[in-house]
Amino acid sequence: AQTIHQWPVAEIKAVGSPLSLGCTIKGKSSPNLYWYWQATGGTLQQLFYSITVGQVESVVQLNLSASRPKDDQFILSTEKLLLSHSGFYLCAWSLGRGASDTQYFGPGTRLLVL
């Protein structure tokens, strides 16, 4: 069975500080990976997606970047946090590129920027 792990569980960071969030998928080779962001009490917005190692596509510009250094790892980062970066960051995976593939979400990382 596939498992998805995100770290850290929660972060409190200062404006202007750097950030790195991680996501690891176990039990599935070459998954499609996604980063989503959810503002507090709000809906979800896709930020990035990746279909293979070393390839990441940006969907929304939020002064964030993403990388996929390994087949099972997806990293979200920024050098300078903004207040607007606060929220819930969710990593998701799917089996392939088919549009009907179900995306399964990780436990998420809560970020508060002060």
Binding site: T43, L44, L90, Q103
Partner: protein, 114 residues
């Protein structure tokens, strides 16, 4: 452009009643439609999806949804509702783009009173 509308921000009902959460979408081609549930403080869990074929799809936790092309709707149903169904429910559409982007509605917060 694609969009999802969940017109009811909050729905409250009594345990044992039937629940129906509304979802409408706008998309120029055949949509792939999903329902996810988010319990307080948790990530998203997949409930069900419509790809093609039978317009009534059954999912986990006793939920089902009916796809109606005539009025572009994909309403979620369950009978009877249980207090443990209290959560936020998100309807999502995937339009088949290369990024498999899920477009989410704003969600409906369901409260089931025992």
């Amino acid at each position: 452009a694609q969009s999802v509308d969940q017109p009811d921000a909050h729905v409250t009902l009594s345990e044992g009643a039937s629940l129906e959460l509304r979802c409408s979408y706008s998309y120029s081609a055949a949509p792939y439609l999903f329902w996810y549930v988010q319990y307080p403080g948790q990530s998203l869990q997949f409930l069900l999806k419509y790809i093609t074929g039978d317009t009534v799809v059954k999912g986990t936790k006793g939920f089902e949804a009916e796809f109606r092309k005539s009025n572009s709707s994909f309403n979620l149903k369950k009978s009877p509702a249980h207090w443990s169904d209290s959560a936020k429910y998100f309807c999502a559409l995937e339009g088949g783009g290369s990024n498999a982007k899920l477009t989410f509605g704003k969600g409906t917060k369901l409260s089931v009173k025992s």
